[in-house]
Symmetry: C2
Subunit: 236 residues, 2 copies
């Protein structure tokens, strides 16, 4: 089956969690909005579909549209063996992904604490305060939670769930990538305290399909339009 991924064509953003899973699964997919007319097609689906996605990313699979990053991964994980088959393990993996989604929202709001409709420059004062709370309280809390989960996994600390790779591992890799880009000083200090998270990130980067993807032009570089942005004043 050929998947159609719909996401903003110039950023990693939330779409990157889906791209990483599609790449690791060696799935056949088109990143539609990166092709001619793709963004217009994406906007049309959001407006007119019978089951309209609220926002990108969304996936066309098997004739239907699936929106919300975590829901897309729930679907893809089951299709491609990137989540446990047993219902309890599957739901626990999804629960971790939903917590990652919360963290992504909070990372976004460090540079948009007032609203997405305004430029960063028009909410910079608020951003400085929000980013301070994010650095001091939220990054340690979330990374510490991932570390605990790895530490307590009865199948070993190489993966968040069970003995095999899941989409949640790939998403945690992306979280570390994003933090290291946007908050290099804070991330370096925080990751020293979470060696299992750090090791998982390094191991994912060495997986052959992920390594090939990261080196390809399908991987959009981080930039100042996405979820993770490098504003040095927010990392101090």
């Amino acid at each position: 089956m050929m998947y159609e991924l719909y996401y903003w064509p110039t950023i990693q953003g939330r779409g990157e969690f889906v791209r990483l899973t599609l790449e690791e699964a060696a799935a056949d997919y088109v990143d539609v909005a990166r092709g001619p007319g793709g963004t217009r097609a994406m906007m049309r689906l959001m407006k007119d579909a019978e089951t309209p996605p609220f926002a990108p990313p969304f996936l066309r699979a098997d004739g239907r549209l699936i929106g919300q990053t975590a829901a897309i991964l729930l679907y893809l994980g089951a299709q491609h063996g990137l989540a446990p088959k047993d219902p309890a393990g599957g739901l626990w993996t999804h629960q971790i992904q939903l917590t990652i989604a919360d963290f992504v929202n909070e990372a976004h709001d460090t540079h948009h604490p007032v609203g997405s409709s305004l430029y960063y420059e028009d909410q910079k004062e608020e951003s400085l305060r929000r980013a301070e709370d994010f650095r001091q309280n939220r990054i340690p809390k979330f990374l510490g939670w991932f570390e605990d989960i790895l530490d307590r996994n009865p199948s070993g600390s190489d993966h968040l769930v069970g003995a095999d790779l899941t989409y949640a591992d790939l998403s945690l890799f992306q979280i570390v990538e994003g933090l290291a880009y946007a908050f290099p000083k804070t991330a370096a200090a925080a990751l020293k305290k979470t060696p299992l998270v750090t090791a998982l990130h390094a191991a994912i980067a060495e997986r052959p399909r992920i390594k090939a993807y990261l080196a390809s032009d399908r991987r959009i570089p981080f930039n100042q339009e996405g979820i993770f942005r490098r504003y040095p004043e927010l990392d101090d």
Copy 2:
């Protein structure tokens, strides 16, 4: 099976979405933290469980812990016939719930745009700006999306998905309740433009089990500690 719900005992908050579904299902459950020692038990589970929830609410069901509101509802919906049985319908219902979760996060951040670790009074200036964006852009966008979904439902506009009640309908009811409490002026104006959402809210309020629940002392009144808070200056 007896469920154990763990959530903050003095607020509706995110726990209320779970309570409404448990009540409509006539499920056997204990709201643990509302009993003696319950909050301490909740904190202990978050700290020590092999699969620790990141935050309340979480549910103990069938010997395991399920965290994240939307994941709990995904589980309960399947157990109690409050979601379509077919995978596509089930995932669409979940996708709607995840979008409701995003809206709830945004509603919370109108009074906590800088961080949950600070009092409202210490982020009031930021709140005024964020609430303005929420009122002008976000409330109309989200309510308009729900209205579109109801309008396009091929089984009729009484429900978000299919011809029967789902947990997403109950959650949309709660969103309307919360907006009407926290932003009475804005909500009244916005809901005039979304008659199907308004009608769904009214119909849910008349369902016998929901009606009995709302009249009981199990329903905690809205207050200034929860997600939806009434600060008149944020509704102007």
